[in-house]
């Protein structure tokens, strides 16, 4: 079954940005700061936003469901701490700009305690019915924690067509700086494995591959050891992958591990594959075995401008400001605060932006670093050197698309398949003329979406 796999496989093209993971990779997961006020955004996932289930002034318990959802593709929200609902208001959102949020005033602001997880000795995923798993996962409000935020219950539901034959677990963490998934694989190994088994049981996949880049040998070792300990039946395997960005993109991961290509505009289930992140797997185990909703997550706070970088276990809704302060504040040099990593993360303007279910990192970059990045350096004319074409993992023509968008020729951009762009940022990263190709392409996509929906600007 695994004969056609070779170690150190990868996808074609891509880039090798400096990894910068040394700042936090040896820092164990620690409890984050005690926060007095948390803002739970009602849209932390792909799909319909949830509806507030509480009113201003209500008292809430820790773990209580405060955001309900009726839609199929949706995930409920829960209160991470006990307290009082202070207000329902618009709060800064890293992607949407502003979004409805429930602000909770903590009753008793204490630092969060790391969750205990003891795998029952007689744990057997076969004892759980797929529907039960999906329901527990949905009730816990699980979404893909790697960044995209697609509701996990929808992903792993059993009755979809075509049948899902392969479960791919994403432990690549190809973004520079971020180490939260790495620490989870090292420290919560059994929990991750239990979650993988449960997801496998739910979606009915016969094969499981765990893709980990070879710059994380300890994680590869830990996961392999856990599989051996659990007496694996041979249907699960760790696949070491060559370190390259954007390996953790699900289309690239599928290509690297299985050698298959997801059709343009399609999703992995179309070729019978489900991809979940290791952090999500850990959360699945929490949800199914302990009925714990997704209210906390591990966040890497990092960057050369951070005094005390590390991996912290924090309640969702913690403002970025509080996290940065907890890590010793920032130094003079800091110039850009990014939610996520430097390649795909979103620069935020408002430091009260709360941590979401999908935000695995806060990266603070120095003035010097972004001096090297596109923003401050002057953009020069495209010399058609073709470097963006050479690195584009989706085999697109970034300069053509970007310049079409720039000239407001959206039909030309579409004829060069703008919709197939995964926004990984490789083209902007290599461009010698400092053109923000990815930025233009993202803008073009927004324009096109508006055009289609006849949305007002």
């Amino acid at each position: 079954m695994t004969d056609d796999l070779k170690d150190g496989c990868t996808f074609s093209r891509g880039v090798h940005p400096p990894e910068s993971k040394h700042l936090t990779e040896d820092r164990p997961i620690e409890p984050g700061p005690a926060v007095g006020e948390l803002s739970i955004l009602l849209s932390q996932h792909i799909g319909a936003p949830c509806q507030a289930a509480v009113m201003k002034g209500d008292l809430v318990e820790a773990g209580q469901r405060i955001g309900e959802c009726q839609a199929f593709v949706c995930a409920p929200a829960h209160a991470p701490v006990a307290g009082k609902v202070k207000e329902l208001a618009l709060k800064p959102h890293p992607v949407l700009g502003r979004c409805q949020a429930i602000t909770i005033e903590a009753q008793d602001p204490t630092p969060p305690s790391l969750p205990s997880f003891d795998l029952p000795a007689d744990f057997d995923p076969a004892r759980y019915k797929p529907d039960e798993i999906c329901e527990a996962v949905r009730d816990a409000g699980l979404v893909g924690m790697g960044g995209a935020g697609f509701p996990t219950s929808v992903k792993i539901q059993p009755d979809a067509k075509p049948p899902k034959h392969t479960l791919l677990v994403n432990g690549c963490e190809c973004e520079p700086y971020i180490t939260c998934d790495y620490r989870i694989m090292l420290e919560w190994t059994d929990q991750v494995l239990a979650g993988i088994r449960l997801a496998q049981r739910a979606c009915g996949a016969s094969k499981v591959f765990i893709g980990i880049e070879d710059n994380k040998p300890k994680a590869i070792e830990a996961m392999s050891a856990a599989i051996a300990r659990a007496g694996s039946t041979g249907d699960i395997r760790v696949v070491p992958l060559q370190t390259k960005y954007p390996q953790g993109g699900e289309r690239q991961l599928i290509n690297a591990v299985l050698g298959r290509t997801v059709p343009t505009g399609g999703i992995p289930p179309m070729i019978g594959v489900v991809v979940i992140n290791v952090a999500t797997a850990a959360a699945i185990a929490d949800a199914v075995l302990y009925n714990r909703p997704l209210t906390h997550r591990v966040v890497t706070v990092t960057g050369e401008a951070i005094a005390r970088p590390g991996n912290y276990y924090v309640p969702i809704g913690t403002p970025v400001e509080a996290l940065i302060e907890f890590c010793g504040g920032v130094t003079e040099k800091s110039a850009k605060v990014v939610m996520g990593g430097p390649m795909m993360g979103l620069a935020i303007a408002d430091l009260t932006t709360p941590i979401t279910k999908t935000g695995g990192a806060v990266t603070v970059l120095t003035r010097h670093q972004i001096g090297q990045a596109k923003f401050e350096r002057r953009q020069t004319a495209c010399i058609r050197c073709g470097r963006c074409l050479e690195v584009c993992p989706e085999n697109l023509n970034p300069t053509r698309i970007a310049h079409a968008v720039k000239s407001n020729l959206l039909d030309v951009a579409e004829s060069h398949f703008i919709g197939a762009c995964i926004e990984c940022g490789c083209c902007s990263y290599v461009c010698p003329a400092n053109i923000e190709l990815t930025g233009y392409i993202k803008t073009g996509k927004i324009f096109l979406a508006r055009q289609r929906k006849k949305m007002p600007a």
């Binding site: 074609s12 880039v15 940005p17 400096p18 520079p176 289309r251 290509n255 290509t261 997801v262 059709p263 343009t264 505009g265 399609g266 302060e325 504040g329 800091s334 110039a335 850009k336 605060v337 996520g340 430097p342 390649m343 979103l346 620069a347 935020i348 303007a349 430091l351 990266t363 970059l365 670093q369 972004i370 090297q372 990045a373 596109k374 923003f375 020069t380 004319a381 010399i383 058609r384 050197c385 073709g386 989706e394 085999n395 697109l396 023509n397 060069h416 398949f417 919709g419 197939a420 940022g425 902007s428 990263y429 290599v430 010698p432 003329a433 400092n434 923000e436 990815t438 930025g439 993202k442």
Partner: protein, 337 residues
């Protein structure tokens, strides 16, 4: 805490690479050819290169002033254009003619289209084509290398009658090949000369070794891809081999074509100009094959002994068409509408 923070699109880091770095790399790649030119053509070489670089840079500056655009000399593209133009000129060319060529290169070849990145034709080749059309005799008078003829005229001397000139290897092969006995002995000696560069020809094109050295540097720096040089040289070799096989008496052997004339220089330094070459790899192959084939058609069938310049200009003109033909299809295939 944080007073002013920057917000922009991802990615927030970038490779330390700039257009200037790319252009400097090309200039470094041209160093061996410039050095060999200096050895064989002495002060002529240095003065020609200097004249072209200074006039190209000055013209670009003036154009930017007139267009009220920011100064673009910092990208060093004008310097590269100047060097390439100089290296493609006959060593004995009058400096005023070189200056005119430089001005035409920048004004007509580049700035008229809107500056770097917007030009359709290779600026240096535009300048050279203008000189060929305007000063036909001067552009086909080839001074012999100083090592062959120590009596090379001083620059102060205005007396062109004394200048020792020689036919270029290609011109020789076109006319003298009929004299078979002489041809047999002479061609092997000449082939060796075209490798070292001790032969008449344009400043930078004579030495195959120097060009290959510079080309290897560009390939190593990933400033150019191997596609265009490989396609140009491969297709030229095939065309020359076909001609040789058809009539070995009328045409020289194919290796001779590879090392002589501007073919090598053009394959590595002129046809690879990213602005005027196609973007996709498939397009680069097509473009390179076009340049190589057209060059050989001109050399073998045409009136001119050398056809590199015309081949590059011709293929530059069809580059937009090639780009259109060789559209990139996403890795996941065409989306189903």
């Amino acid at each position: 805490m944080l007073k002013d923070i920057t917000v922009s699109f991802a990615p927030h880091i970038s490779q330390p690479l700039s257009t200037r770095r790319v252009m400097i790399d090309v200039a470094v790649g041209l160093l061996p050819a410039m050095a060999v030119a200096g050895i064989y053509f002495r002060i002529h070489a240095l003065l020609l290169i200097g004249t072209c670089v200074i006039w190209c840079a000055a013209t670009e500056w003036v154009c930017n002033q007139i267009r009220r655009k920011p100064n673009s000399l910092g990208d060093f593209s004008a310097v590269v254009t100047g060097i390439i133009l100089a290296l493609s000129l006959p060593p004995g060319l009058k400096l005023w003619a070189a200056a005119i060529g430089s001005v035409v290169s920048i004004v007509v070849g580049k700035m008229a289209f809107g500056g770097l990145g917007a030009n359709v034709f290779n600026p240096a080749m535009v300048g050279r084509a203008f000189l060929t059309a305007s000063f036909g005799v001067m552009m086909t008078t080839w001074t012999v290398p100083a090592s062959i003829d120590a009596g090379m005229p001083e620059l102060s001397s205005d007396d062109t009658v004394d200048t020792r000139t020689q036919a270029t290897p290609l011109a020789w092969s076109k006319t003298a090949i009929k004299d078979k006995d002489e041809a047999k002995t002479y061609s092997s000696r000449l082939l060796f000369s075209t490798v070292t560069g001790e032969v008449a020809g344009s400043l930078g094109e004579t030495s195959a070794i120097a060009i290959l050295l510079g080309g290897a540097y560009l390939l190593w720096r990933k400033t150019i891809g191997f596609h265009i040089p490989a396609a140009v040289l491969g297709s030229a070799f095939v065309a020359a081999a076909i001609a040789y096989l058809v009539n070995a008496d009328a045409y020289v052997q194919p290796f001779f074509h590879l090392t002589s004339g501007a073919l090598l220089f053009g394959a590595f330094f002129i046809a690879t100009d990213p602005v005027t070459a196609p973007l996709t790899r498939r397009g680069m192959w097509l473009f390179g094959i076009g340049v190589g084939t057209v060059t050989m058609v001109i050399r073998i069938l045409g009136e001119y002994p050398e056809g590199m310049m015309f081949a590059v200009l011709l293929m530059n003109a069809v580059t937009p068409l090639i780009d259109r033909l060789c559209k990139r299809i996403p890795a996941g295939g065409r989306p189903h509408a």
